[in-house]
């Protein structure tokens, strides 16, 4: 295993992460092109923070999340992970583990530290396994504890996610969507991971259930010192749960900043449009909507230069020809836009001042 010095403090450091899928014509081996699902992204996640990852359907959020865990093999890039457990396992000077060059055995050790929660609470749980065995399975895979200890651990985790020990012997179909998502969270938690990739964990849930799961995730984070990469397309949810937010468009991160900065001072025209497109539950919320024209282009044939230029109202000549550099424009605010420094874009209007929106009387 290669151990390298990562930047101080960061739990996860991703550089130039790329995943291209080949597109093949039906029936033949002939290569038609590449889906540039993830096209060179840089991320740093601090211990115990939540980094939100937003973007429209097909922009590569899921692929990025899975590539970080090496659940899909990245085409290129580097992922450094600071494993508490592996550091404790003897290599004291080790500061960060290079995930992509880890061997099969080392990868298995890393899996304990990095877990994932899936979007669909229905298909992600094996319908023929009891809740107890679903949650306990990772313990068996990693040969942790004896049967009794494992059962104890499962009970403990189920309690932590708000389920009871009686639930252990039941099957997933006996549970509602929200409860199933709790089971999925319990399964991710059982190995005491450091990082959890949450891939749209509340998108499939009813509005009144979403809040339960979001609160649960927040509580668990505080209790167990978890770090989240939180993927979602719902901006309100991401804004609520994240410390920092990264906005993706066509396989690239176009903007990344602390949640407050991103919504108060967006620097990328796409972020501005995305934020202004969100329907706000406030009948008197009046804001000039920036309605983007056209559709999201295909990641097989992304536009030249800045991927966003065909839909961008601020595009200038250089946007068509040159890809903007992803850079820090101050205050750890990263943006990939040629005009990132000069534009002053419309922030989200503060609802507190507009009076009582959505508050129950």
């Amino acid at each position: 295993m290669i151990r390298v010095a990562g930047e101080e403090g960061a739990l996860l450091e991703v550089t130039g992460l790329t995943k291209h899928f080949p597109v093949r014509q039906k029936g033949f081996r002939r290569l038609r092109g590449l889906v540039r699902a993830v096209d060179g992204i840089d991320l740093r996640i601090q211990e115990r923070e939540t980094l939100g990852l937003v973007g429209e359907s097909g922009c590569g959020k899921t692929t990025a999340g899975r590539a970080v865990l090496r659940l899909v093999e990245p085409t290129a890039g580097r992922i450094l992970f600071r494993s508490r457990r592996m550091a404790a396992d003897g290599v004291a000077e080790a500061r960060a583990v290079d995930v992509l060059s880890a061997s099969r055995r080392e990868m298995k050790m890393l899996r304990r530290d990095m877990q994932i929660i899936f979007q669909d609470p229905y298909s992600s749980l094996n319908p023929r396994m009891t809740v107890g065995s679903i949650v306990g399975e990772p313990l068996i895979v990693h040969r942790m504890g004896r049967a009794l200890e494992r059962a104890d651990r499962v009970r403990e985790v189920l309690a932590a996610v708000g389920l009871t020990p009686e639930h252990m012997r039941r099957y997933p179909h006996e549970f509602s969507g929200g409860q199933r998502q709790r089971i999925g969270i319990a399964r991710a938690l059982v190995l005491e991971p450091q990082l959890i990739v949450c891939d749209e964990p509340v998108s499939a849930l009813d509005v009144s259930i979403q809040a339960q799961v979001l609160n649960l995730l927040e509580d668990l984070q505080r209790e167990f010192g978890l770090t989240y990469l939180f993927i979602a397309h719902n901006l309100s949810v991401v804004k609520h749960i994240s410390n920092r937010v990264a906005v993706m468009y066509l396989g690239r991160i176009v903007e990344l900043a602390s949640t407050e900065r991103l919504f108060a001072e967006p620097k990328h025209p796409y972020t501005e449009a995305l934020v202004s497109a969100v329907p706000v539950p406030e009948p008197d919320y009046m804001v000039e909507r920036m309605i983007l024209q056209g559709d999201v282009p295909s990641p097989v044939t992304p536009p030249s230069g800045c991927h966003f230029h065909p839909r961008c109202r601020y595009a200038v000549e250089v946007c068509r020809s040159e890809a903007p550099v992803y850079r820090d424009v101050g205050h750890d605010h990263f943006v990939a836009c040629h005009r990132g420094d000069e534009l002053s874009l419309q922030p989200i209007r503060d609802g507190d001042r507009s009076g009582g929106g959505g508050t129950a009387s």
Partner: protein, 344 residues
């Protein structure tokens, strides 16, 4: 709401589905009204009966297993009032209304268009069915409709197949199809739920513009409170097969009456306000085949009283034009409750 220009009145509608072993009371006494040229937003969680209510109006309840077992759907048209619930769903009269005077668009733009027929054909089919028009005229009209919904190069796209269009374009085509006969009522069942936010914004803007030009009333079904706030004049909140609250959009958002509506407002994260901890509604939505005997929200309600467990509350006016179905707003129950509190 003045009753003078009421377009559609649904009264105590009940739709049941007979699935092996149980009867699912999908719609369990729904009452509401839509005025002409206004937009009624219908909100509610998955499975609360929004789609089934809409299908009942269209006469499209899959039967078996479904059946309208009670109530009326009064459609006010020039010639008088028709009870759509009484019309044979496949009869001549219903078919003349369906798709012509009352049109509907669906949630999934990817699957709601027939993949083997061109967009143009599917629009023309509607036109020639309900209007005296030659094929050529119908095609010209189809092109015009596509232009109206903002599809670029409509002359060319009219001959394309659905798979050649993106989700947003398909939903525009669906809207074109629904509006092609100038309906007085358009039922839109979550028309933007499957779309991306930026595309959703396009389609919502389009619908807002078209509403003005076409003078249609819209029943806009969604589970997104944000979409309702931006689109609707009036809102009906559904829970477990019933309307629990109905009022103007401002009243619903600024002074929600029903504990469920109130809980909903507190449980959604806000984009515009600073972060605060969410207050979720505890518990889960009961299965409609196993609904509580009293108020459907009783098991989750922070305000529940003993009467809530036994008797479903009627939908009554709590203020002019603001209805709620909750025992809290029954004057005499208030007394009972106060007395009970006093004892504690």
């Amino acid at each position: 709401m003045t009753s003078a220009d009421v377009l559609l009145e649904v009264r105590d509608l009940e739709v049941h589905f007979a699935v092996p072993g149980v009867t699912v009371r999908a719609v369990d006494g729904v009452t509401y009204a839509i005025d002409s040229e206004r937009t009624l937003g219908v909100v509610g969680e998955s499975g609360c009966g929004k789609t089934v209510t809409a299908l009942a109006i269209m006469g499209l309840i899959p039967s078996p297993p479904g059946r309208i077992v009670g109530g009326q759907i009064l459609y006010h048209r020039d010639g008088g009032i028709v009870d759509l619930a009484q019309l044979p769903p496949r009869g001549q009269e219903m078919r003349a209304i369906r798709g012509n005077e009352i049109a509907m668009i669906f949630q999934e733009p990817m699957t709601s268009l027939n993949p083997v027929l061109t967009i143009g054909f599917q629009i023309m089919e509607s036109i020639t069915l309900h209007q005296r028009m030659t094929k050529r005229e119908a095609k010209r009209q189809a092109v015009e409709m596509l232009r109206a919904v903002g599809i670029p190069l409509p002359e060319e796209r009219v001959d394309e197949f659905p798979h050649q269009m993106s989700g947003g374009m398909r939903q525009r085509a669906m809207i074109a199809m629904a509006l092609s006969c100038n309906p007085v009522l358009l039922i839109a069942d979550e028309p933007t739920t499957a779309l991306d936010v930026t595309i959703q914004a396009q389609v919502l803007e389009l619908m807002n513009n078209l509403r003005r030009d076409f003078h249609a009333a819209i029943q806009f079904i969604t589970h997104d409170l944000g979409v309702v706030a931006g689109m609707a004049d009036d809102v009906a909140v559904m829970y477990l097969g019933r309307i629990v609250e109905a009022a103007t959009v401002r009243d619903i958002f600024h002074s929600p009456k029903h504990p469920y509506t109130q809980g909903l407002m507190k449980s959604i994260p806000s984009l515009t306000r600073s972060k605060e901890r969410l207050v979720p509604i505890e518990g889960i939505v009961p299965d409609p085949s196993d609904a509580p005997p009293g108020c459907g929200f009783e098991p989750r309600c922070p305000e529940r009283m003993s009467i809530c467990r036994t008797t479903p509350p009627p939908l009554v006016a709590t203020a002019p034009g603001h209805d709620a179905a909750c025992w809290l707003y029954q004057p005499d129950v208030h007394l009972v409750r106060r007395t009970l509190r006093g004892w504690k």
